[in-house]
Symmetry: C2
C-alpha cells in the first residue's frame, strides 16, 4: 500500500514525468508546481519504489559483502565500518558468511551476482585461483580485504602483513629470546596468512636464529584452534620463550591453554597476537598485538568500491595502511603492577 508516483501526480495535478523531475531534479521545474508536488509527496508519504528504479537504472544500490564469519570480532568491526559508509551513500549491504569454505564462497559469489549487486567486497581466508578467475572476468567491481591481488582489476585494502609479522617477531628477538614460536594460519595460496608466516621466517633469518619447526603450528583463526594447537604443542616438552599468534582470537585460546599447562603469561611465556580487536585491552593479560586499523579499513574499502561502482576514477587500486605494534601485559615479563603497565 505505499503510494506511487502516479498517485502523487494525480494529487498534484501534474504528470508522472513532472513528479519524477522534482524527485531527481533532473530537469528544471516551475517553482510553483514543484511546491505542489512536494506537498503531495509529503501528504502521501511517498517514497520511490527501489525495485522500479533498479529496473530502469540497472543498479541495485546494494553492495555484496562476503566474509568468513560475522561473529568473528575482526570481521564484525570491519563490517561495521563498511556499513557506516555504505549507508551514508545510500547503499545497502548484503552480508554473507562463507565459514571459510571455498565452495561456499563460490556459491555466494554466484548468489550475489544473481541478486545484481553493484559491487562485491570479499574477505577470504584464502584467495584461490577459482576466485581470481571469477574476479577477473566479473563485470561488477570487486574489492578485497587483506588479500593481495596482482593485476586482477580489484581494489585491495590491507596492511603490510609481511612487515607487521616481521616487526612483531623482531620485538621478541630484540629482547634476546631465541625460542620464539608462531601459530600461523593455514594457507594454500598467497595471501595475508602466508605473508605473516614469511615475515616471521625472515625475522628469524635476519637475527640468525635457526628455524625450529617444533615451535610453529597451524591454527584456524578461532580461539578454539589456538587452544587445541597449543595443548598439542606442549605435549612434547619443548622450551618456549615467546609465541607470536597470527590473530588475537587464537591468542586468547593460546593463553588459556598455556595457563592450563601451568605456564603463566607473560612470566613463563610471552604471547603476542595480531589484529588488535577491541577485546585485546580487556583480556587478562591485556594482549600485545599488531594493530590493524580495522574500522578504517572497512570504511576505506567501502568508499573506494562505491567510487568505482559510480564510475569515478579510483586512483590507487592497492591501498596499504600502516600497522603498529601495541605492547600490553602479555609481553611484559616484569615485576611492575598491571596498573603501571596500563599507562602504556
Amino acid at each position: 500500500m505505499p503510494s506511487t508516483i502516479g498517485q502523487v501526480a494525480l494529487r498534484a495535478g501534474v504528470s508522472k514525468a513532472t513528479v519524477s523531475r522534482v524527485l531527481n531534479d533532473s530537469k528544471p521545474v516551475n517553482e510553483e508546481t514543484r511546491l505542489r508536488v512536494m506537498q503531495a509527496i509529503e501528504e502521501l508519504e511517498f517514497t520511490p519504489n527501489p525495485a522500479a528504479r533498479s529496473l530502469v537504472y540497472k543498479k541495485s544500490k546494494i553492495i555484496g559483502v562476503i566474509v568468513t564469519d560475522i561473529s568473528n570480532l575482526f570481521v564484525s568491526v570491519l563490517v561495521r565500518g563498511i556499513e557506516e559508509i555504505a549507508y551514508s551513500k545510500g547503499y545497502s549491504i548484503l552480508i554473507c558468511n562463507s565459514y571459510k569454505s571455498t565452495s561456499k564462497e563460490l556459491e555466494l559469489l554466484n548468489m550475489l551476482k544473481s541478486k545484481r549487486v553493484d559491487g562485491i567486497i570479499f574477505l577470504t581466508s584464502n584467495l584461490r585461483p577459482e576466485h581470481k578467475k571469477i574476479i577477473k572476468s566479473s563485470s561488477e567491481p570487486f574489492a578485497l580485504v587483506n588479500a593481495g591481488c596482482d593485476k586482477l582489476g580489484a581494489i585491495s585494502v590491507s596492511i603490510d602483513n609481511f612487515k607487521a609479522a616481521y616487526d612483531m617477531t623482531s620485538y621478541f628477538l630484540d629482547k634476546g629470546y631465541t625460542k620464539v614460536g608462531m601459530i600461523y594460519t593455514y594457507f594454500e595460496d598467497k595471501y595475508s596468512g602466508e605473508e605473516r608466516y614469511q615475515g616471521y621466517r625472515q625475522a628469524l633469518k635476519d637475527y640468525n636464529i635457526e628455524f625450529d619447526e617444533r615451535l610453529v603450528a597451524v591454527g584456524d583463526l578461532e580461539a578454539d584452534d589456538g587452544y587445541m594447537v597449543v595443548r598439542a604443542m606442549l605435549g612434547s616438552k619443548i622450551r618456549l620463550q615467546a609465541l607470536f599468534v597470527a590473530c588475537d582470537l587464537m591468542a586468547f585460546g593460546v593463553i588459556r591453554a598455556l595457563r592450563e599447562c601451568g605456564l603463566s603469561v607473560p612470566e613463563d611465556v610471552e604471547v603476542a597476537g595480531f589484529d588488535d580487536v577491541p577485546m585485546a585491552t580487556y583480556f587478562q593479560p591485556a594482549l600485545t598485538t599488531v594493530h590493524q586499523p580495522i574500522d578504517r579499513m572497512g570504511r576505506l574499502v567501502a568508499e573506494e568500491l562505491i567510487k568505482m561502482v559510480e564510475g569515478a576514477d579510483v586512483e590507487k587500486m592497492e591501498i596499504v595502511l600502516p600497522h603498529k605494534i601495541i605492547c600490553r601485559e602479555s609481553t611484559a615479563k616484569l615485576k611492575e603492577s598491571p596498573d603501571e603497565l596500563q599507562k602504556k
Copy 2:
C-alpha cells in the same frame, strides 16, 4: 549485461510466458519444450532479475534487521543465526546499526520501509512508545528480540530475563553473600534491562537482604562502561562480595577495573555476567554467566518472521526460550586449580 527472459525465449524458440512457467513451474509445460528452455537458460547463464520480480510480486525478499551495534559479540552471534536462516529461505538481510540512539532507530525504521523490506527484526536497547506506535501501525511484520511486546502484533523471542536475573542473584545469595551488587543497564521503558534489574531486586527481597543502592550502578552494555562504572563505584570504599553484571562485555570491563583496584576475581569479589558470549570461556577468569541460546534465538526469530511474511499462521507470537546458569572460574572462590574447574 545479464541476459533476460526475452533472450532465453528467443533462443529456445518459445514465448516469454513459457520461460516464466518453467522458471516457476507455475503451469504445466511440455517436457520437450521445458528441456529446450532449461538448456537456453544454462547457455545464457540466465538468472531472473530480482528487481523485475519485486515489482510484480510486491515482495523484496529482504528482511531488515536493526541492531544496536554489529560489533557487539551478542549481536554478531545473533545476526549470524538470522542470516543463516534467511539465506536458506532465499531472503537477504539488510543490517543497520542504531548505536542505541532512539532517533537513529526511528530513522532506520523509515529507511527500511522505503526500501520495501518484507519484514523487520528489531533489537533495541529500549522499546520506546514511539517505536510501539510504528510497530503497531506497520504494514510489514515485525519481530523483537529480548523486548517484551504487549499486544502490538509483533513476534518476540527472548528468555525470561526476570527469572534469569533472579536465578543468578540467588546463586550468590545461596552462597551466603549479603553484599551482592549489580551493574544493570539504563532503561526508560519496560524491556529486558528492567526485567533483569527487577529480578535482582526480587531475589534480594526474597532472601531478606536489604537493597543497598551503593552496590548498584548503571552501565551501557560495553566493556568500557563496565570498567568506568566500577572504577567510580570503588571510589567510595564499600564492601562488595559479589557483582552481577547485566551483560558479559560489561563484565569483562568490570573484572579489569576490579583487578586494577587490587581486587582479584574470584578471590576478593565474585563476578557473573549475562549472555554467555563465546569469549566468556576464554576470558581469564572464565566468566560465570547466564547462558542465552543466542544462535537459536537468531534462527528462531528469523524463522518465525519469515513464516509471517509468507502469510503462514504463526501460532506462538511470544516465544520464551530457556536460560541456564553456567558456573565458571569467576565465581569459584576456591583453592582448586583452574584445571579442576575446567571440568565444570
